[in-house]
Amino acid sequence: MNKVLLLLSMIYGMSSAMASEDKVSDFLMSQNKLIAVNAILLMILSGIVFYLFTQDRKIKNIEKQLKD
């Protein structure tokens, strides 16, 4: 639960930081806004990678429990 809250607050912090900083939004507006697609793709990729690592840890824990 705490981890979820931490993640949510991080996302909130990041989004408000992005909104307030003109440099970031200028950067996202450059190159015909293609950078925005790139940023979103990286977010999705990091979500998938996060999921895979979590799943790995869960499986590892169950394997450990079974061994004991």
């Binding site: 990286l42 990729l45 990678v49 895979l52 790995d56 499986i59 169950i62 079974l66």
Partner: protein, 228 residues
């Protein structure tokens, strides 16, 4: 050996690095000036590796099927089946990503005259039949044996359908197939290669990673059912 490998982390981190590189530099690498393809050539870093990943997974599935037949150890059958699941997933992604690419370059979602599309669809059906075959057995031993033998046939069919038929037909829209030399013109482009090769290994890595998770879960199930 495989079970030890699936618990190691170094190749997972390498996969993540390669994919982040692919999904960033793939957008910005300087591409050659290609008619019709234009910016869509960047799909080379996403669509083509799906098929390479499928080929890797199906090849490993074949290897573990053969090892099962040689040893009778049903753990190898579990590995082979789960590799094929991820292989089929990558093949399905290869088909749908190819459809989008076909729409913008050839003007249609599906070109029925194009041999490679139909062959790829047939190859997916061959592997779907593999899972139908698996699900039709109740006895685990005959299930493993029959599906291991079928998977040899499936892999040969897959290779013929994907890599042989498209090359011997006289006409194909795919570059490098049916006497269409297009692939060389960009395969030899050094810029594209700097992203293409890392992309292939990155997507292969994530396929392998997903399959190791399925396999580990199945191994846990076997333990709970007192098979091991």
């Amino acid at each position: 050996m495989f079970e030890k490998f699936s618990k190691q982390i170094w190749w997972k981190i390498a996969t993540v690095i390669l994919l982040v590189y692919t999904c960033t530099y793939g957008f910005w690498v300087k591409i050659p000036d290609l008619p019709i393809l234009e910016e869509s050539i960047r799909n080379l870093f996403f669509h083509v590796p799906m098929w390479f990943s499928m080929m890797l997974m199906m090849f490993l599935s074949l290897v573990y099927s053969l090892r099962y037949l040689a040893s009778g150890n049903s753990r190898f059958d579990v590995i082979a089946a789960n590799m094929a699941i991820i292989g089929l997933l990558m093949g399905g992604l290869g088909i749908v990503t190819g459809m989008v690419w076909a729409k913008v370059t050839w003007g249609a979602w599906w070109v029925f005259a194009e041999v490679k599309l139909n062959a790829a669809a047939a190859a997916l059906l061959v592997y779907m039949a593999y899972f139908i075959l698996r699900s039709s057995f109740e006895d685990p031993e005959s299930k493993a044996k029959f599906s291991a033998v079928y998977s040899i046939f499936a892999f040969v069919m897959f290779m013929v359908l994907i890599n042989v038929i498209p090359r011997i037909t006289s006409s194909s829209l795919h570059p490098g197939n049916g006497g269409n030399p297009g692939f060389n013109s960009y395969d030899l482009d050094a810029n594209l290669r700097t992203v293409f090769y890392p992309a292939v290994f990155g997507w292969m890595g994530i396929s392998l990673w997903m399959s190791t998770q399925l396999i580990r879960i199945d191994m846990i199930k076997r333990r709970l059912n007192d098979i091991d």
